[in-house]
C-alpha cells in the first residue's frame, strides 16, 4: 500500500510541475516589429541548448512573471549572463520584482566573473509600483557602474526603451540597436510635444540612426534581431570574460596577400592627399573578421577590434578619408571611450596615426574640445594594457601627443620612414619662423615652398624624433606587423615590475 501512495504522489507532483511550466513558458506572440519572445531571444544569443533560466517561477504581485527573463548560457563555450526584458508583461515596464530579478543576474555576473548582456525592451519604470520601481531602477544603475571594473556589459535595444530603461544601457560598455525597432529616449513623443512643441516621432527622438550617427549614445546599428545576436557574439569573441581574465586567443592568420603587398603604397606621396586607413589596418592585422564600433559617428577616427597573431587587439586610428582624420570634440570622446574600455579589460591598443591636428574654430571650442581632447590624453595615461603606436604619416602638435605618444605611456612607438612629426606642419611653421623674410621677399610663394621643403627635411622627418628618443625607431610599412607581434610578445611577459600594471 505504501508503495502505491508514493507513486500517486510522485505523478501528482510531476503533473503539477508540467502544468506550471506550460503556463510559464507559454509563447506569447510578440507585438509590433519584434520577432521573438524574451526567452527565445536569450536562447538565440547563446550556444544552442545552453540557456538555463534563473528563477523562472518568480512572479510579480499581479500573478504574472517578473517581466524579465534572466539566466545564463554559453557563447563559443564561454559563460555569459543574460537579462532579457519581456515586453509581453506590462510592456516590459520595470517594477520592483523586475528590478530585483535583473539585480540578481547582475550580482551573479559580477561575483562569478561573466560578461552580462542586457536585452532591453522596456517602456521604463512601472508606474503602479511607484517609488519602489524607481528604487529598483536605481539599484540596477548602481550595479551597472559596479560591474564596469569587473565584467564586459553589452546592451541590445530591441524595442522602445524609455526613461529608466534608457539609462542602464548608457552605463554599459557597448550598445547595439535594431533599426526601426529599437529606440532610446528619456521622454517619448507626447511629453516632447508638450514641452518643446516638436512634432517628433519616437524614431526622431531616439531611433538607431540618430543615436549611432549623431548622438553617439549607441555604438552599432543592425537590421534585425538575429544580426544583433550575431554582433554580440562577435563582440564577446574579442573580450576576456572578466577584467583579469585570460584573452580569447585564436589561430593566427596572416593578412591577405593582396593587402600585405599593397601596404607600402597605401599612403599617398603628397601629404595633403587623403587615403583609407582601413587599407593600412588590413595590411597589418590578421585576416578574418573585425568589429568596428561607432562606424558612422565621428568617422574621422576608427575604433575596431581585430587580431594580431591570434591575439585580440583594439585598434584606434585616424581616418584621413573622413574629415581628413582630424581630432575634434566628438572624435576625441569616441577615441577616449574606446581606449578606456580596452584598458579596463587588458586589451592591447594599437594606434595608427595620421592626424592634421585638432580642428580649430569657434564651433569646436564651444563644444568643449579642450575638455574632450583632455579625456583622450587621460585615457592613454591611465591605460595599463600594452600601448603600441605607429605614425604612418603626419603627427603635428597637440594631436601628436594625444594619439598615443611615448610621453602618454606608449610602450612602443614607431614612425614609417615617410612620416612627419613636428610642433606644427611645414606651412604654418614657415609662416611663423620666417615672417619677416617672407614679407620682404620678391617671390614669397617660391621662398615659402623652399623653406617648407627645408623644414620638412630638417625638422619634421621622423629621424629627428628617433634621435631625440620620442619614437623608438623608424620602420618600413612592411616591417610593421612583425614589430607589433614581437612587441606584444615581450609585453605579455609576466616577470616585469612595471608600476603601471
Amino acid at each position: 500500500m505504501t508503495t502505491i501512495n508514493t507513486e500517486t504522489a510522485t505523478s501528482d507532483h510531476r503533473a503539477r510541475l508540467a502544468r506550471r511550466r506550460q503556463e510559464r513558458f507559454r509563447r506569447v506572440e510578440p507585438r509590433g516589429r519584434r520577432e521573438y519572445t524574451a526567452r527565445e531571444r536569450a536562447e538565440m544569443l547563446v550556444d544552442a541548448g545552453s540557456f538555463v533560466e534563473m528563477s523562472p517561477m518568480r512572479v510579480d504581485s499581479d500573478g504574472k512573471g517578473a517581466g524579465v527573463v534572466i539566466g545564463w548560457g554559453r557563447v563559443d563555450g564561454r559563460g555569459v549572463v543574460i537579462a532579457s526584458h519581456d515586453a509581453a508583461v506590462a510592456s516590459g515596464a520595470i517594477g520592483a520584482v523586475f528590478a530585483e530579478t535583473v539585480q540578481k543576474a547582475q550580482r551573479f555576473a559580477i561575483d562569478k566573473g561573466y560578461p552580462i548582456v542586457y536585452i532591453n525592451d522596456s517602456g521604463g519604470a512601472r508606474i503602479h509600483d511607484g517609488i519602489h520601481a524607481l528604487h529598483g531602477c536605481g539599484g540596477i544603475f548602481a550595479l551597472n557602474v559596479k560591474a564596469q571594473r569587473r565584467v564586459p556589459q553589452i546592451s541590445l535595444i530591441l524595442g522602445p526603451c524609455a526613461g529608466a530603461a534608457a539609462y542602464s544601457p548608457a552605463l554599459t560598455d557597448w550598445t547595439i540597436m535594431v533599426r526601426e525597432q529599437g529606440q532610446m529616449f528619456l521622454t517619448g513623443p507626447d511629453i516632447v510635444k508638450a514641452t518643446t512643441g516638436e512634432d517628433a516621432t519616437s524614431e526622431d527622438i531616439g531611433g538607431s540612426q540618430m543615436h549611432t550617427e549623431v548622438s553617439g549614445v549607441a555604438h552599432l546599428e543592425v537590421t534585425n534581431e538575429s544580426e544583433a545576436f550575431h554582433a554580440t557574439r562577435l563582440l564577446l569573441s574579442y573580450l576576456p570574460s572578466r577584467a583579469d581574465g585570460p584573452m580569447p586567443v585564436v589561430a593566427p592568420r596572416r593578412p591577405s596577400p593582396v593587402a600585405a603587398e599593397r601596404l607600402p603604397y597605401v599612403v599617398p606621396d603628397r601629404a595633403s592627399v587623403v587615403f583609407d586607413m582601413r587599407e593600412v589596418i588590413d595590411g597589418v592585422l590578421d585576416a578574418g573578421p573585425r568589429l568596428e564600433l561607432m562606424p558612422a559617428h565621428a568617422p574621422s577616427v576608427l575604433t575596431l577590434f581585430g587580431h594580431l597573431d591570434g591575439r585580440p587587439v583594439g585598434v584606434l586610428a585616424n581616418q584621413p578619408a573622413s574629415r581628413g582624420g582630424v581630432l575634434d570634440a566628438k572624435s576625441s570622446v569616441k577615441a577616449a571611450r574606446f581606449i578606456e574600455f580596452c584598458g579596463r579589460f587588458g586589451l592591447p591598443v594599437v594606434t595608427f596615426v595620421d592626424v592634421p591636428g585638432f580642428l580649430p574654430g569657434t564651433v569646436e571650442e564651444s563644444r568643449g574640445v579642450i575638455t574632450h581632447g583632455a579625456k583622450l590624453l587621460k585615457a592613454y595615461v591611465e591605460t595599463t594594457s600594452p600601448l603600441l603606436t605607429v605614425v604612418v604619416r603626419k603627427a603635428y602638435g597637440g594631436a601628436y601627443i594625444a594619439m598615443g605618444s611615448r610621453s602618454l605611456g606608449a610602450d612602443y612607438s614607431w614612425a614609417w620612414s615617410g612620416a612627419e612629426i613636428a610642433v606644427m606642419g611645414p606651412g604654418g611653421a614657415v609662416a611663423l619662423l620666417h615672417r619677416r623674410a617672407l614679407r620682404d621677399a620678391d617671390d614669397p610663394e617660391a621662398l615659402r615652398d623652399e623653406l617648407a621643403a627645408e623644414y620638412r627635411e630638417n625638422v619634421a622627418r621622423p629621424y629627428v624624433a628617433a634621435e631625440a628618443g620620442v619614437i623608438d625607431d623608424v620602420i618600413l610599412p612592411e616591417e610593421t606587423r612583425d614589430r607589433l607581434i614581437d612587441a606584444l610578445a615581450t609585453l605579455g611577459h609576466e616577470g616585469g615590475t612595471d608600476a603601471r600594471r
Binding site: V274, P356, L359, V363, G425
Partner: protein
C-alpha cells in the same frame, strides 16, 4: 534633388565639376582645403550640377557646395 555638402569647415580649393555637368553618386564635385588636407566633396546622388559656391570661399560643415538634380 540631392546635394554635395561640406563634411568639414574649410575653403573651396578647387571646383572639379562645372555648372551643368552630369555626375553620379559619389563623384567628386569639389575639393576643400582644411588644415593642409585636400578634402573631397562627393555628390549625394546622380544628376546635373548647380554650383552654390565659388573657389576661395570659406564654407562651414554641412554647407551645400552644389545642388544636384
Amino acid at each position: 534633388m540631392h546635394a554635395a555638402r561640406a563634411e568639414i569647415v574649410g575653403n573651396v580649393w578647387r571646383l572639379v565639376a562645372k555648372e551643368g555637368d552630369l555626375v553620379d553618386t559619389g563623384d567628386v564635385v569639389a575639393v576643400l582645403e582644411t588644415m593642409k588636407m585636400e578634402i573631397p566633396v562627393h555628390a549625394g546622388g546622380p544628376g546635373t550640377v548647380r554650383l552654390r559656391v565659388r573657389e576661395g570661399e570659406i564654407v562651414q560643415e554641412g554647407d551645400v557646395i552644389a545642388d544636384i538634380g
